[in-house]
């Protein structure tokens, strides 16, 4: 699964996610892409699960680009712990995304198959998405 090799700090402040994606909102490499319509957090497991869904659908040929990287550490307190006593321990890595961000790109395969593969990937993600192409 995707995660940073090393980080400067273990935990990060949550901040706010407002507005739309300023970068990574256009198709850069492939022909068809999956674009998010909502802001949210996508975990490294969800990214991996979506990637597997695409490769299983495509089977042969094509090229896939993952345009997001989970570089934000999510923390979690252990089960049955009283509140307080500081922030929890790092638990997983997530990618924080804003509406309009391109998540996956695919090329080198038939358009219908590409759309089908991206749709099956969208079922693995916690945000609303749409399939876009360079032809429209």
């Amino acid at each position: 699964m995707l995660m940073p090799k090393r980080t400067k700090y273990r935990k990060q402040q949550r901040g706010r996610m407002k507005g739309t994606a300023a970068k990574g909102a256009a198709i850069a490499f492939g022909e068809y892409a999956l674009k998010t319509l909502e802001a949210g957090k996508i975990s490294s497991r969800q990214i991996e699960s979506a990637r597997i869904a695409i490769t299983r659908k495509v089977r042969r040929g094509g090229k896939l680009w993952i345009r997001i990287f989970p570089d934000y550490p999510e923390t979690k307190k252990p089960a049955e712990t009283r509140m307080g006593k500081g922030k929890g321990n790092p638990d997983s890595w997530v990618a924080r995304i804003k509406p309009g961000k391109i998540l996956f790109e695919i090329s080198g395969i038939d358009g219908d198959l590409a759309k089908e593969a991206l749709k099956s990937a969208s079922h693995k993600l916690p945000v609303k998405t749409k399939v876009v192409s360079i032809h429209s």
Binding site: K35, I52, R56, R60, P73, P90, S107, G108, H135
Partner: protein, 219 residues
Amino acid sequence: MAQKSLNVQLRTETGKNINRRLRNSGYIPAVLYSHGNTEAITVRKKDFHSLFNGPVSESVIFDIKFTGKSSDSDQMAFVKDYQTDPVSGEILHIDLFKVTLGEKIHTKVPIEYIGTAKGTKVGGQFEISERELEIECMPKNLPGKIEVDISELDIGDALHAKAIPLDEEITLLTNPETVLASVHVIKTAKEEDVEVEEEAEVPAEEMTDLDDTAESEKK
């Protein structure tokens, strides 16, 4: 050359509120400029999209007709740049560049790959790296698209920008060594699935690694 035309209106008011209202009423705010001379205009959304068959192209030159002005003020222009909404993909603003007939223009032209690569019939995969070429030419010589025959591409072959036959009047601005397309051996999904299964066992370790690093940082 310029058979298509676009009706535009001069825009006196500027600012986000005015432009937002314009967009809601079916118009797109735009600017028409040349060398240091800029005019704020509005374009009807429907008219603008009818200029292109599909996505917006920078290689289409069209007539600009100002509504309410005499025909002397008509000019030619092409789309230099445009801004889109990141979510809906709707066009928010257009930059139109005035064409001066005796002056060379510098723009991007889409490449159309024609045929089926020889290598794909023997198990290779055709991959496109570049879909546009940057060129410089006189407005009358601007091609709408550049057609490239790929039928001779075999496995391991690559098509470079310098290999594209262009007219004498057209200057190629893209790096001649740039790979536009290539044919390579397919990597099957089966191999990847095996990798995935191997990786699936790792996550628990990765999480502990994260905690380990945390403890070492504490020390």
